[in-house]
């Protein structure tokens, strides 16, 4: 596979296929969920919204774990830094989508687009924190400096994830409690909804993995090209210096 261009491989092809299948299944089943008493048709959004939120937690968790592995001297390797940055970027996409779908669900069901309860406030803060993290990564700096800085920032930022997850239990929120902890086992309809929701979790996880592999490869290419262009520039500068007199 020497002549291929791009970041695809057998791994991403199979991951992508699985992700597409799971996502298609989620959408098909999600859109045909029965309407419910409390929420009418709007309960159909449960197929995607919790899955997106889960994928964003997963992405930020991976960022934190990779950052810790970079900081630990025995496992230090540039690959953890690239993984952390790539995962955070995907996590930001998922967080933004979580907020968007939640807002779209909230308007007809709660009656408002947005409220400042603990869950929503923390989700917004989570998005802002990781936007800051990505901005920090974009600051031009030597690779090692960037890695150390962003690893520490990632470890500081990740605290918001568990607090956000349990916020619905620690504080009173307009947002409903954690979905899986709240269902009643005897209720058939709960079973259907939980099943579709779990399929949504699977689909979003696969989409995340597929995106992550591609994004890490892109990040590695970016770094390599930066190094090369730096080397070329230095080379030219040297030649100019030799030719100048």
């Amino acid at each position: 596979m020497t002549n291929r261009t791009g970041t695809a491989s057998a791994l991403t092809l199979s991951l992508g296929l699985a992700a597409a299948l799971a996502l298609a299944g989620t959408v098909a089943l999600g859109l045909t969920l029965p309407a419910t008493v409390e929420q009418g048709e709007y309960s159909r959004l449960i197929a995607i919204h919790p899955g997106l939120a889960w994928a964003s937690y997963l992405a930020f968790g991976v960022t934190a774990a990779a950052s810790a592995l970079w900081l630990w001297p025995r496992t230090r390797s540039s690959r953890w830094d690239l993984l952390a940055g790539s995962s955070a970027e995907i996590g930001v996409v998922f967080t933004a989508l979580t907020l968007a779908t939640g807002s779209i669900w909230g308007r007809p069901t709660w009656g408002v687009w947005w409220v400042w309860d603990a869950r929503l406030t923390l989700s917004a803060l989570m998005l802002a924190l990781y936007l800051g993290y990505l901005a920090l990564r974009r600051v031009p700096a030597p690779v090692d400096v960037r890695a150390r800085r962003s690893a520490i920032a990632a470890l500081l930022a990740v605290a918001v994830v568990p607090v956000n997850h349990f916020a619905v239990e620690w504080w009173r929120t307009l947002h409903q409690g954690r979905s899986l902890a709240q269902t009643t086992p005897g209720n058939d309809l709960d079973g259907i909804f939980v099943g579709v929701m779990l399929l949504g979790f699977l689909a979003m996880t696969l989409v995340y993995c597929w995106l992550l592999v591609h994004r890490v490869r892109v990040a590695r290419l970016e770094d390599r090209l930066d190094e090369q262009s730096l080397a070329v520039a230095l080379d030219e500068r040297r030649r100019e210096a030799v030719l100048a007199p």
Partner: protein, 46 residues
């Protein structure tokens, strides 16, 4: 189908597709640039 539901699904699928395309496309252009750079800068006659 209800507008809010459609909007929720639509925004999710479109955003994910757009982001995925961006990443893949960037990977292609970068790997092309990398292979060009590896084979040396294009020779220019001066």
């Amino acid at each position: 189908m209800n507008g809010y539901v459609a909007a929720g699904y639509g925004i999710t699928l479109l955003t994910l597709a757009a982001y995925a395309l961006r990443v893949v496309w960037r990977g292609r252009s970068l790997s092309r640039a990398a292979s060009e750079a590896a084979s040396g800068p294009p020779v220019e006659s001066s």
